[in-house]
């Protein structure tokens, strides 16, 4: 698997990507990691190092909450759940993204008459 998107390009979107996974159901670190690879059609991998930093930020902002699973075998998993505030933020960011995507496309590829 090759990471073809530059870190600069994806950095601002890590949180939104995680929220997109969590709005479709609670999940834990490694599973979220795998779901993001799946979302990308196996073309992009968001490293766990990046993910766990993002979880902490999202939790501090009140967009997600965490709770421990009750696995008895081996270690417990820490699950994350999106909050109402998180969903709101996700929807707004999605709108912003739709807007920015069009503009950026024009700015990067457009020709001047």
């Amino acid at each position: 698997m090759k990471a073809i998107i530059s870190t600069d390009l994806i950095r601002g979107h890590t949180g939104t990507i995680i929220l997109n996974v969590l709005r479709q159901g609670d999940s834990y670190g490694y599973e979220i990691y795998k779901k993001i690879i799946e979302l990308s059609g196996n073309q992009y991998e968001l490293k766990e190092a990046t993910l766990y930093s993002a979880f902490r930020r999202l939790e501090q902002d009140g967009y997600i909450v965490s709770y421990w699973g009750d696995e008895t075998q081996g270690g417990r998993r820490k699950y994350y759940r999106i909050t109402a505030k998180g969903r709101e933020f996700y929807e707004q960011t999605k709108k912003d993204w739709d807007f920015a995507k069009d503009i950026l496309d024009k700015l990067i590829k457009g020709g001047l008459g």
Binding site: Y28, G29, Y30, Y33, E45, K47, E48, A49, T50, Y52, S53, R56, W68, D70, T72, Q73, G74, G75, R76, R77, K78
Partner: protein, 220 residues
């Protein structure tokens, strides 16, 4: 978390402990380490399923996590900032405090009611029956004390603390039923039998919990 760690778990924890060595202990660090350990373990298992040997799978899993130094820095900063820790633990501390107060009051209530019944000259069944509050209070108190984070120890996870609470409750309930049946039933063997029914599983559970205990002691 089970203490019966296999070879792989030891290696994973050795790696994580080394990674965060010298970082001030906080509840968040304690939790992050467990989170990362579980992640590495599951990822290693996935690599193994693809045919790697354990050594190689673990190595790949660790490398593919990416650069964790940012997280280590975050934790280091948190360890220095004790004010943040206080905010973090107030909610659980409050719940635990309420539980300790309620548990202690229940026990005292049970003691007083039992004493009152005894002084009123009630039957043996009535006197011992009032002691049920002591059983409930004891279980609640055990749970609340264990979920409390102190300056020396981290809070125990809620499920484990609940199991301790249940085992305490069963032990006490065993004595309770023994006392009640002693007054209620003629046959002398019945109290012992009813004590056994609750005491044995309670004791077994307690023994299991004690033997699988992991350190919650904070490093200074």
């Amino acid at each position: 978390m089970s203490k019966i760690k296999n070879h792989l778990d030891k290696k994973i924890w050795a790696y994580i402990d080394k990674l965060f060595s010298g970082v001030g202990a906080t509840q968040q660090l304690f939790e992050l380490k467990e989170e990362l350990a579980v992640n590495i373990r599951e990822k290693t298992a996935d690599y193994r399923a693809r045919g790697m040997d354990e050594e190689q799978a673990l190595k790949e899993a660790i490398i593919s996590m990416g650069d964790l130094s940012g997280l280590v820095d975050d934790m280091r900063q948190l360890g220095q900032d004790t004010a943040k820790q206080a905010v973090y633990s107030t909610m659980t501390a409050r719940i635990s405090t309420a539980g300790i107060v309620a548990g202690a009051l229940l026990i005292l209530f049970g003691v007083f009611v039992t004493a009152m019944q005894y002084l009123m000259g009630s039957s043996g069944v009535e006197v011992t029956g009032s002691a049920i509050f002591i059983v409930a209070g004891g279980a609640l108190l055990t749970y609340s004390v264990l979920t409390r984070e102190t300056s020396k120890r981290y809070a125990m996870n809620k499920i484990r603390a609940a199991l301790y609470g249940i085992s305490t409750g069963m032990l006490l309930f065993g004595f309770f039923t023994a006392a009640v049946t002693h007054f209620a039933v003629e046959e002398p063997f019945v109290p012992v039998a009813s004590l056994m029914v609750f005491f044995l599983p309670g004791f077994g559970l307690l023994l299991f919990l004690l033997l699988t205990e992991t350190g919650r002691r904070k490093q200074v």
